[in-house]
Amino acid sequence: MGEPLRQPLEPHHPYPVPAKRKLSSEIWKHRKEYLAISPFYLLFAVFGLFPILFSMYLSFQKWDGIGVMTFNGVNNYRFMLTDPEFWKAVGNTLLIWIYSTIPMLFSALVVAFLLNASFVKFRTFFRIGYFLPNVTSLVAVSIVFSTIFSNNYGLLNYIFTSFGLDPVEWLNHTWGIQLAVSFMVIWRWVGYNAVIYLAGLQSIPSVLYEAAKIDGASGIQSFFRITLPNLRPIILFTVITSTIGGMQIFTEPQVLVGNDGGANGGGLTIVLYLYREAFINNYFGYGSAVGWGMFVLIALFSIFNWKVVQGKGTL
């Protein structure tokens, strides 16, 4: 009776103990590395973990933010998945992301490349000018842009009409709103991304280019063979942060067209929808469910983008 029991135990015994010792000694060996990265995880444990667990719990509750919470099962999630406005918000967010991020990162790369080129003069001057939009508070940006894109009396339409063109009612169309929001994003973040790329370009040793030149490589060849591969970690950084930031876009549409997202809800993004449902309509439980739905979307989208940029899918 005892023998069959022993059989499976036997091969187990010798392994776990050394493996454990090995892992713990590995950890001990790297204690300085863990210490170096620990502040983030400690702060996360103290300040970040509870909000996450709380919102997870809240997403299964009905709560107006003040009164008593009542258990609501999966109703919040069911409501979310069947609410056309939620899906509209998802669609709007993705469209705005595409309209803004691709032109933004591309122009940032071009600007950075030019500002890094030795034949361009006044580089410091240009750098400051391009980064300036990122310095402003969104309050300022919002006031300025709402006067620019105003339907009939905006600055843009003033320019249109003075050239004899018809004014465009930007904010009465879904596409107009999305274009205006995208433009605000591009305006604000091109210089920022350009500075990031610039930092990356600067760290590529000039000897590499010199060697390529000796080998007879053209400018375009060295861009694709030296610049892009060396810049890949930086590009990855900008793609991932602008994916996360783009999916969380909120203030721009809010200040431009209000909490309802404007005409036909064209500017209703996911976070704007979340904010409206939680803080305006007082469904804090539901807001949490939307937050988690959004987390899943961002995670999937980020993984996808990571694979696209990184190629092999390694970290």
Binding site: K62, G67, S146, S150, N172, N264, N281, F284
Partner: protein, 417 residues
């Protein structure tokens, strides 16, 4: 290379030490009352005068801007660190389900002063169970703002009384509007936007979305919901609205350039109009609104249950909001009174140049006296948002019947949440 890094290192140490130590707040014998309000929500001069009036009280008045509601809701949700006195806007009704988070002002002696205030306004701060959670600050009686010169050119009456007589109903007002637009070849619109009409018709009503049991009454015949919807749709289909969102930069430009001939709005629109349309000074008049008198906006003061000095807080509130001080606040920052005696003050009858020497106070005080007490229900804003969104899509071309069905369907879904 080493030097900047050393500076950095020492700065790091200093910062760590500084953020570690906390400053001690000074203690004194005075009782401190914290007050949250917003810019121009209360008369700052009166708040300063509180110190003189109540020597034992130190008032810590904080202007919270922008996301006032987010701050209040976060604090309420966390249940601590709130103020003693807090201002509400007309969303006071959303807080009725949480009435126990505020002191019942009736228990602090509010009954004694109830008769001094406009009844409909006072009742807005009282829950269906009879608890008074908020006390009136100002009111927003509504009236018709119109361009006298444009009405005259179109052959419409221009005298406020005549305007009111001939445009006593919304239908008559729209008919006059059609005539006006014809006279100007459609270059001038009767009014600003479709949502404005919907809001204002409901603002004149005493039955909108809910009865006092919080049951939905939008489909019953005495509710104004469908009536307001139909009138708004009618105006839009007659082409009488300019599609300029109220108080947007669009609205400002359209009023200043004479593209909008009239709108129904609350008394506080005066200041906005004066800022937005200085070129039209002297050309505006105010008449009693088509469809009747109404109220839009107006704020309140409440005492949080977490306050340790409710009695002092109530005394301060009572003093701030007494009829004499309401007159002062009207003079200083145009807060329209909620105390009946203040409505009789001579200052309310002053002539205004922007309105061609008319004393608009006459119209608004009359309007304020005639508002019907209404119950809004805690989900008023949710429902209003749903209907407004559908109405907006009608203005942009959606079939009105389909939009109404969609709105009603969504409202019913909302009521089940």
């Amino acid at each position: 290379m080493g030097k900047p890094r050393m500076y950095f290192f020492w700065l790091l140490i200093v910062v760590l030490m500084l953020s570690g130590c906390s400053s001690n707040s000074s203690n004194s014998n005075q009782k401190t009352l914290t007050l949250w309000y917003w810019n121009r929500g209360l008369d700052d001069k009166l708040i300063q005068a509180v110190q003189k009036q109540f020597p034992d009280v130190r008032i810590n008045a904080q202007k919270i801007g922008g996301d006032f509601k987010s701050k209040l809701k976060t604090t309420l949700a966390a249940g601590s660190n709130g103020p003693d006195i807090v201002a509400f806007n007309d969303w006071v009704t959303e807080l009725f389900p949480s009435a126990d988070r505020f002191y019942d002002l009736y228990e602090l002696g509010a009954k004694d002063i109830e008769a001094d205030y406009l009844d409909w306004k006072w009742q807005m701060g009282v829950t269906p169970e009879g608890k008074m959670i908020a006390m009136p600050i100002d009111t927003g009686p509504t009236a018709l703002f119109y361009r006298e010169d444009l009405f005259s050119k179109a052959g419409l009456p221009t005298d406020p009384e005549e305007v009111h007589e001939q445009m006593g109903t919304w239908e008559d007002y729209f008919k006059a509007g059609a005539k006006l637009q014809q006279a100007f070849d459609g270059k001038v619109k009767l009014t600003d936007n479709i949502g404005g009409i919907y809001t204002q018709v409901n603002a004149q009503s005493d039955k909108i979305y809910f009865d006092k049991k919080d049951d939905f009454i939008g489909e019953s015949s005495d509710s104004s919901m469908k009536k307001a919807w139909d009138l708004a749709v009618q105006a839009s289909q007659m082409g009488l609205v300019a599609n300029t969102n109220t108080f947007s930069s669009e609205w400002n430009a359209a009023t200043n350039n004479g593209k909008i001939a009239s709108f129904v709005g609350a008394v506080w629109c005066k200041q906005i109009l004066m800022d937005a349309a200085p070129d039209t000074a002297g050309k505006w008049r105010v008449a009693r609104a088509p469809g009747g008198d109404g109220n839009n906006g107006g704020s309140f003061l409440a005492i949080m249950k977490t306050s340790k000095q409710p009695k002092e807080a109530f005394e301060v509130m009572k003093w701030l909001m007494n009829p004499e001080n309401q007159v002062t606040a009207f003079k200083d920052i145009n807060l329209f009174p909620s105390a009946t005696k203040a409505l009789d003050a001579p200052v309310m009858k002053e002539k205004e140049d922007f309105f061609g020497g008319q004393s608009t106070g006459d119209i608004f005080t009359e309007s304020a006296r005639n508002v019907k007490p209404a119950y809004f229900g805690s989900k008023y804003a949710n429902l209003n948002g749903i209907v407004s969104r559908e109405l907006q899509s009608v203005a942009l071309g959606k079939n009105p019947d389909a939009a109404w069905d969609a709105a009603l369907k969504r409202v019913k879904k909302e009521l089940l949440r």
